[in-house]
């Protein structure tokens, strides 16, 4: 077995809202292997978003450890954590969250620009990438000139442009119709198969779960089942 690319070890996460404590995760352990295509399912409130946020270093666990490529996120400083997010983790959000004033190409190349990749190389890589996600010819469109599915393709291109170790996608298909959802799933599946991009996404759509090659089901902040197919 390879070293896991991202891992939660006995993670607890407790939110405090005034006097009320919400136990979002209760001893969750989960290891993501390189090249996997993992769906995290479970009822609303079962801790899917919390788990993805912890894997992405956006939040810290109350107890337990989070490791990305063997590095314990609790042991590194804020600066290195931000750099690690930029270089090793891709994010896809439910609401696309593209920068509205930037074109599709500019959105997609953003992380590369932050990494200091030169303009010419950025343009070339992003043009190829946008063609790969099916947006050839739409490089110069603004998000408001694209459909929801197209915007999510740009978001996927943005997430994988810098070739991260893992792409974390929180309900990436929740805002689109089922046909578009299927197409986005096809796209992610193809990027996983052809480029070896590791995907972890959450969903509560059964048709999306069917496509996953590993299905983790959370209930009350812990793994109820973990099936590889």
């Amino acid at each position: 077995m390879n070293q896991p690319i991202a891992e939660l070890r006995d993670v607890h996460k407790t939110y405090r809202q005034g006097a009320v404590e919400v136990h979002a995760l209760r001893g969750l352990s989960l290891a993501i292997e390189p090249g996997e295509f993992v769906a995290i399912s479970g009822p609303s409130g079962s801790g899917k978003s919390t788990a993805l946020n912890l894997l992405g270093g956006l939040d810290a666990p109350t107890s337990g450890r989070v490791l990305v490529e063997g590095q314990d996120l609790g042991q590194i400083g804020r600066r290195r954590l931000a750099a690690l997010r930029r270089d090793r983790i891709g994010f896809v959000f439910q609401a696309y969250n593209l920068v509205p004033v930037l074109t599709a190409a500019e959105n997609a190349e953003m992380v590369l620009a932050l990494q200091g990749v030169g303009a010419a190389e950025r343009r070339e890589r992003v043009a190829r990438l946008l063609a790969e996600v099916g947006l050839a010819g739409m490089e110069d469109r603004r998000p408001d000139e694209l459909s929801g599915g197209q915007q999510q393709r740009v978001a996927i291109a943005r997430a994988i442009a810098a070739e991260p170790a893992v792409v974390l996608a929180d309900e990436p298909t929740a805002n689109v119709d089922s046909e578009t959802a299927a197409m986005l799933l096809d796209l992610m599946g193809r990027l996983n198969a052809e480029r070896g991009v590791t995907f972890v996404f959450s969903t509560h759509d059964p048709r999306v779960m069917e496509r996953a090659r590993r299905l983790v089901r959370l209930v009350d902040g812990a793994v109820e089942s973990d099936v590889r197919r």
Partner: protein, 404 residues
């Protein structure tokens, strides 16, 4: 994609709000620049009135003269003091002062007799420029006098009319002589307007029997010398005589000068607090409605510095436009105010503390007229933007992404 081009596009996302911000800055700046130009013009005008026409920067008197302005309290070595002052770079001219009675046909009135060295006096005083009707003194015509405007009105005098001056000469005898009015002054200042009669030095000495010495030396400091430095220089040259600056001679007026400066500062504050509130408001709105966006930027790798830079650049773009428009608008405005002025009061001018100022304010701009308001605006922008910018920079992505 550069941060600057992103900032530029963000500015134009909400065109209306950005224009409100830019116009608030431009209007504030425009008003402030016009105001600064006018206030400087007003102060210069007052200074011209007071210092140029009547008072000078520093005056020298014999000890005790100011409490008891007697003909006998003279600066005996006035000529030597004048030479020492000249050598030290000052312009100086001595005047002779006396009280008397002016009579013309059926009317008479108390008069303040002022004997001047016509050539030297022109270097320290602009009173020779203040002649409204007729002409200024001429040493070649010792019988010619120039009178203040209210005195001329009281005595119903016109240039060419005869005037008798009566007084007591220094030997105790009755002094009187017949003169001819050469000129009538325009507004100069309370005392001179009501009773001033200017004579040539020779005519005064002759009438009053004062062969030497003088009562007052009016001193002008070289350009750029501070008042305390000027006083020290004059004290060094004046020996026993009493030296006073115009601020000491006219404390009420000095206070008023300071009050005008204070009012200008207050005006600046009011305008810029108003502009600052508009800015703070629009910047806060611009940041808070984009919390999610900043959160996403930070999640995918923007550091706090980049987000801070983005927000600061956005306000820099707006500030540059505001300054450009405001300063651009101010050019014709200040030009107009400098040329045509702003009508501020009644036709005959306003007299405060014995000094009459013109009813029209003219702007007297210099580089500071623009630089000071711009500097203050930049400071206000900085103060207004720092909180929203830091707020945006420190957004935690996890909270921002949950935010709706």
């Amino acid at each position: 994609m550069q941060l600057t081009s992103m900032a530029w596009r963000n500015v134009w996302r909400n065109k209306r709000r950005s224009w409100v911000t830019i116009i608030a800055m431009a209007l504030g700046l425009w008003v402030m620049i016009g105001y600064a130009g006018l206030v400087r013009g007003y102060l210069r005008q007052m200074e011209r009135q007071i210092l140029d026409v009547e008072v000078g920067d520093v005056q020298v008197h014999a000890p005790g003269f100011r409490d008891d302005p007697s003909l006998y309290r003279r600066i005996d070595d006035a000529a030597a003091i004048g030479e020492r002052l000249g050598a030290a770079g000052f312009r100086a001219s001595a005047r002779l002062l006396g009280a008397g009675l002016a009579a013309a046909e059926d009317n008479s009135s108390g008069a303040q007799l002022i004997g001047v060295d016509v050539a030297k006096d022109a270097q320290v005083s602009a009173v020779h420029d203040a002649v409204d009707k007729g002409a200024w003194l001429d040493p070649k015509e010792p019988a010619g006098v120039v009178v203040g405007r209210y005195l001329a009105r009281t005595l119903e005098l016109a240039p060419g009319d005869e005037l008798v001056l009566l007084s007591q000469a220094s030997d105790g005898s009755m002094a009187n002589d017949l003169y001819r009015v050469r000129g009538i002054l325009g507004p100069v200042g309370g005392g001179v307007d009501r009773g001033g009669v200017f004579l040539t030095e020779a005519a005064f000495r002759e009438l009053m029997g004062v062969p030497s010495g003088a009562h007052r030396i009016i001193v002008r400091a070289p350009e750029g010398m501070t008042l305390p430095a000027a006083k020290a220089g004059v004290v060094a040259a004046a020996g026993q005589a009493e030296v006073m600056t115009w601020r000491e001679l006219l404390p009420v007026l000095a206070q008023m000068f300071d009050a005008v400066m204070g009012a200008m500062t207050m005006g600046f504050l009011v305008v810029f607090v108003a502009v600052g509130i508009v800015l703070l408001n629009t910047m806060l709105m611009a940041v808070f409605e984009r919390i999610r966006e900043f959160g996403v930027l930070k999640a995918i790798g923007f550091g706090p510095g980049a987000v801070l830079g983005l927000v600061l650049l956005e306000s820099a773009v707006q500030t540059a436009l505001g300054v450009g428009i405001g300063a651009g608008l101010s050019l014709p405005t200040v030009w107009y105010l400098q040329r045509y002025g702003l009508q501020m009061g009644p036709d005959e001018g306003i007299t405060i503390a014995g000094v009459t100022t013109s009813r029209t304010w003219y702007a007297a701009p210099n580089a500071e007229t623009w630089l000071l308001p711009i500097a203050v605006l930049l400071f206000v922008v900085g103060a207004a933007v720092i909180y929203p910018a830091v707020k945006a920079a420190l957004i935690r992505p996890i909270e921002a992404i949950r935010h709706r």
